[in-house]
Symmetry: C2
Subunit: 171 residues, 2 copies
């Protein structure tokens, strides 16, 4: 922390401009309430937003299954983080863990028929909720900018994580 401080004191701080501040505050003052509202809309379906995302990824994968390691990368989770994320879905019978037939050492996460049905039942209400609370409020320019901006932010975060892990394990 002392390093950080001396660094802050000796270099000029680039405070945010009014436009930058409006973008930052817009995000930081809104995301949590938006997510809370979307989660509340999903309660009747018995799913969290994170659960829903996992079911969507699996539903889009060939044979509705993904290697655990690929799913972990997609969700930017550690192996133990993925296990925790999947536990509830597995208990509810929506996702199954099984060994790959091609290579039994490889573990797969698979969307079950029950999981697919649950996703199909939840989807119309969820899409309506996403539209009402976010998408239908935005014009084309805003949608394009939002897609582009979060794509850049996500890539930067992924690169950052890659840099951290390769620094931790240079081999």
């Amino acid at each position: 922390m002392s390093d950080t401080h001396s660094h802050s004191r000796t270099t000029e701080v680039r405070w945010l401009t009014p436009l930058e501040m409006a973008a930052w505050r817009g995000f930081v003052e809104t995301y949590s309430d938006l997510v809370t509202a979307l989660e509340a809309d999903l309660v009747p379906a018995g799913l969290t937003l994170g659960d829903y995302q996992v079911l969507v990824y699996l539903s889009e994968a060939p044979e509705r299954s993904m290697r655990m390691c690929d799913l972990a990368v997609m969700l930017q989770l550690s192996p133990s983080g993925l296990t925790r994320r999947l536990d509830g879905l597995v208990r509810a019978g929506l996702v199954a863990r099984r060994g790959s037939e091609a290579d039994r050492r490889v573990m797969l996460a698979e969307l079950t028929d029950v999981g697919m049905t649950r996703l199909e039942q939840a989807a119309p209400t969820h899409v309506e909720s996403v539209r009402r609370r976010m998408i239908d409020l935005l014009d084309t320019d805003e949608l394009e900018a939002m897609a582009g901006a979060f794509d850049k932010i996500r890539r930067h975060l992924a690169g950052d994580q890659l840099a951290t892990s390769s620094a931790a394990a240079p081999a």
Copy 2:
């Protein structure tokens, strides 16, 4: 839930277009990792992102204090939610609760000198973190769209909340 379902079945579902999907997935697949990274950057300052926000609001208020009820509205928190949010800051001596001198029935939250110092110490590193992970990645159009989009979303959420509470208590 059966109502929702029959509703979904009888009305046409407006699925997201590719552009709408890109904007939605951009947000939902990114916000959590972005917030996690920003929170990690704030750990050395001993603050969460939510704590930081509270300190900023108080620092900008006249006499660095706000009525609890106004602060709750600003943070879109219930009275008990605000109490929980403030507890840690009060224990750490960064915020004090006191009765208003004008009207002792009105409770104020006040930024202490220790709190102001902590905020000033944390600010340069936090701004650098916000720039690096979000703001500096975006061009002017994206910043404008982001500010406008989240402003619309936030206003809609606030209106929704208002509608819910007035429906619950029509008087």
